[in-house]
């Protein structure tokens, strides 16, 4: 009896269904005391709606048949109009993608940064270890980053 109570308590507190199932399989299914606390088939049946109680289903088939014939007609609808719409959609998508691509190319090529790089940066004099050194400005393509490179005169 104490064991049954402990197992029922464990069943409540265990968070995972597989652990609870372990308790069912190992104890509850076998234990007559625990089985007494569960409703049997005959006790459950009166609460469930039975097949025999379900009536008025004669209208089910005609409705299904109507729907099925509609579905068949849908399937038989010629493919051409659908294909036409599909081609139109694909064409529109390609046109938009090409437009965006061209727009990006033209706007990036006319970047003001590229043109004004020399104007924006001017290195008059650079020294490394107290000796005059060479300097370079470098801007990667399609980037706003500007590198300043200085190297010793060998």
């Amino acid at each position: 009896m104490f064991r049954c109570k402990a197992i029922n308590f464990l069943f409540i507190i265990l968070p995972l269904k597989c652990w609870r199932d372990f308790l069912i399989r190992r104890h509850i299914q076998e234990c007559p005391e625990c089985q007494k606390k569960l409703a049997g088939v005959e006790e459950v049946k009166p609460f469930l709606i039975q097949e025999e109680e379900v009536g008025g289903l004669e209208g089910l088939w005609p409705e299904i048949k109507t729907k099925l014939s509609q579905e068949k007609r849908k399937k038989l609808r010629p493919l051409r109009p659908r294909l036409r719409w599909a081609f139109r959609a694909v064409g529109l998508f390609v046109a938009i993608a090409a437009g965006i691509w061209l727009y990006r190319i033209f706007t990036l090529d006319k970047s003001p940064l590229k043109e004004s790089l020399v104007e924006r940066f001017q290195i008059n004099y650079i020294r490394i270890e107290d000796k005059p050194a060479r300097a370079f400005l470098f801007q990667p393509h399609d980037s706003e980053m500007i590198f300043v490179w200085a190297e010793k005169n060998i």
């Binding site: 199932d21 409703a39 459950v44 469930l48 379900v54 289903l57 088939w61 729907k67």
Partner: protein
Amino acid sequence: MDDKQLIENCLKGDVDEFKKIVDKYRGKTMALALNILGNKEDAEDACQDVFMKVYLNLDKFDFKKSLNNWLYSILYNRCLDYLRKKRRFYKFFKKVKRDSFQFVNKKNSNSFERQPIVQGVLKELSHKERTVLFLWANEGYTSEEMASVMKCSSSTARVHLFKARKKIKAILEKENV
């Protein structure tokens, strides 16, 4: 004629042959749908959808499995969809009711709320518990079969069944006292 033969005839394109399948299983599917959904209109709609789906996917039917199981599995999923939809609808309905009570009141409120059939004891159970209880008590399904219908593990099905049986017993004992 067994299910296999019926399905093969349907696959040959005979729609009327499908009537035999509908006639054979309509009672069972309707009973399960009623037990899960709790109202006749939704249950009828769900059954219609299920038979439609079955007919349109008959070519995918696995002849090694039972048609009954397949039907129940599709029906269970369809009922879940209905319950989800209903939940969303009632949320919306509550909001509408709260925001514009007078407007709703003028209309016939019965058109929004359908009369539930599942009363009393079954109301205390979740839809999963009602499903396993139906499959266990009416169909004599094992936990593995219930799991295949509900697409869950057999341990989960066993736990749901245990909880449902326990709840019903507790209610019965309360009524007897």
